[in-house]
């Protein structure tokens, strides 16, 4: 029995050692497990601590930058408004913004910004531009002040996160005065003239700026203004001239031309586009004078007459004068000739003369009533000019008579230049029987008669040589 027990002890010994080893291993594992748990807890806690600290720091940074932003905006001498994109509510405005809109800054904050827009749809356009381009610079916007008065401003806008909300910051610069100045300056140098010289602003205009090209130029003048003005006081003179120019000037602009300068009662205008526009402007101008004469007749005032000369050719249009005082002008031989042609309206007793160069430059001459006027050589020039009369703006009765005799009249002139004066004379008699007031026909009838009476030299060309300017 004792031997058995002894054997049993012997066999149990390795097992006990193994058990002890296992128990140690378990204890070791248990310790490692505890260590791992502590490490996990510590790591998690550390992450939370650091995360919290970083978040607080980020918040503080954000608050600090917002404080700086407010400080900058408040010190800015331009009106600044921050408005929320989603609601259009003004969330911040500096001290300049409120009074600019006729409100206190406190009244402005909390308002819907579209309430101060003259056209609320502009807000949508502005936001669209900012989201597309990341900014919107120098947008001209009209606001309505508290008293209903309009306020024009140059507005530059940027996206901005403010108080955690998606907003836009707009700087609003009052340009009302600038706009008034611009409008005032346009009266001196019209927008059309600026764009013709390829300039954005009057500031860019320099002495010597010019465009050299083929263009149509128009000179127009009041008939007998000098004798009329002698009977008027200076104030009456001014009133009359302004009434007249006020009526005839817009037709230039309406027909894509611009007035280069006023010459007393005269106007010098350029049409850089088609010659058709210039001819139409001339017709409109005579029509304006006709309407004005109806008004004048009602006030028992004598009617006024206008003379218009139009020519097409190469010319330079630009700024002349000196640095301290400059004005627009046009130069070329063709420009000088046009002034002479305008004077010829008196000689032929017509309102509107164009040159062959203008007639040939027309896209559609059939839209106008144009008839041959004369071949002339103006004083001091060698070149023979072929002139035409535009009679669209003649009073309807006389226009119809001219249309009816148009073909006969031109046939008469063909005979005349072929030295067939008797035939020319006969046709012109016929034309004048139907329209005794056709002064051009009279003019040519007298010339044909003179040629018949006096005879003509071999080298006769029929060109009328002008001996006076």
């Amino acid at each position: 029995m004792a031997k058995q027990a002894c054997n049993c002890e012997k066999s149990q010994h390795p097992l006990l050692s193994e058990l002890k080893a296992l128990q140690e291993q378990v204890a070791q594992l248990e310790l490692e497990k505890q260590d791992l748990q502590i490490m996990l807890d510590m790591t998690t806690e550390h992450s939370d601590t650091v995360e919290e600290e970083l978040f607080s720091r980020a918040e503080e940074t954000s608050r600090e930058s917002e404080r700086k932003l407010r400080l900058i905006i408040e010190a800015t001498p331009v009106a600044v408004v921050i408005s929320e994109v989603a609601t259009n509510i003004i969330v911040f405005a500096n001290e300049i913004a409120g009074p600019l809109m006729g409100l206190t800054t406190n009244d402005l904050v909390g308002r819907n910004i579209t309430d101060i827009y003259a056209d609320p749809s502009m807000r949508t356009q502005l936001i669209k531009q900012v989201s597309k381009d990341g900014k919107a610079d120098h947008v001209e916007l009209e606001f309505v002040k508290k008293d209903g008065e309009s306020l024009w401003a140059d507005v530059s806008t940027r996206p901005l996160v403010f108080d955690g909300k998606s907003c836009v910051l707009s700087s609003i610069n009052d340009i009302g005065h600038l706009k008034q100045l611009n409008e005032a300056s346009r009266r001196f140098v019209p927008r059309e003239y600026l764009s013709f010289l390829e300039k954005d602003s009057l500031i860019d205009i320099k002495l010597g700026d010019h465009v050299s090209d083929e263009m149509t130029v128009m000179f127009s003048d009041l008939r007998s203004f000098t004798s009329m003005s002698e009977e008027m006081t200076p104030q009456q003179n001014f009133d009359f001239i302004n009434a007249y120019l006020g009526r005839v000037s817009p037709v230039v602009r309406n027909n894509y031309g611009f007035i280069v300068k006023y010459l007393g009662d005269g106007i010098m205008a350029i049409f850089p586009g088609s010659a058709d526009s210039a001819v139409q402007a001339g017709i409109d101008k005579v029509n304006q004078v006709n309407s004005y004469n109806v008004e004048r007749a009602q006030q028992s005032r004598q009617p006024i007459g206008v003379g218009i000369g139009v020519n097409t050719g190469h010319m330079m249009v630009g700024m002349v004068g000196e640095e301290g005082r400059m004005q627009g002008d046009a130069f070329s031989d063709d420009v000088n000739l046009t002034s002479r042609i305008e004077s010829l309206t008196k000689h032929y007793s017509v309102s509107f003369i164009i040159t062959a160069a203008t007639k040939n430059a027309l896209f559609d001459e059939n839209q106008f009533n144009i008839r041959f006027l004369d071949k002339v050589q103006v004083k001091g020039k060698q070149k023979t000019l072929v002139l035409y009369e535009v009679y669209d703006a003649d009073l309807p009765h006389y226009r119809t008579l001219k249309q009816e005799s148009h073909e006969s009249y031109e046939r008469a002139m063909e005979h005349y230049y072929k030295k067939e004066f008797t035939k020319a004379q006969a046709i012109l008699f016929d034309v004048l029987q139907k329209n005794p007031k056709d002064k051009v026909a009279w003019h040519h009838l007298i010339k044909a008669t003179q040629c018949l009476d006096n005879g003509v030299p071999e080298n006769w060309t029929g060109v009328t040589v002008m001996t006076a300017k």
Binding site: D35, I38, M39, D41, M42, T43, E45, H46, S47, T49, V50, E53
Partner: protein, 113 residues
């Protein structure tokens, strides 16, 4: 022994019996291996005392605290060492995170300046 980087430094001075960790630690766990090896080497010398200075440790990410935990466990397992940790109130996270080292090694001393 020293590991020096643009953003951080780990230095062991056996004469002074001092480990210094300075700067901003934003490394991945694999990048901490070299640092852990330096710390283990210092721990395994089994100095009677060891000063671990975290005063200028500005930032430590999760893998970093994990690495330091392993180092403290190694010190604990080496029994004989008396560990003193110094930190700074300038870096608010240190108080909480470094204080937890006592859970691993209760005999550890901590001072914040």
């Amino acid at each position: 022994m020293e590991i020096k980087h643009e953003d951080y430094t780990v230095k062991f001075d056996s004469e002074e019996k001092k480990i210094t960790c300075e700067g901003t630690f934003r490394l991945t766990s694999s990048e901490y291996i070299a640092i852990l090896e330096l710390l283990y080497a210092a721990a395994d010398i089994k100095l009677d005392v060891l000063h671990v200075d975290f005063t200028d440790l500005v930032f430590l990410n999760s893998s970093g605290i994990n690495t330091l935990c392993k180092f403290i466990i190694r010190l604990r397992n080496n029994e004989a060492v008396q560990v003193k940790v110094t930190g700074s109130h300038k870096h608010a996270w240190q108080k909480k995170s470094l204080g937890n080292f006592k859970k691993i090694l209760p005999s550890l001393e901590i001072e914040f300046s």
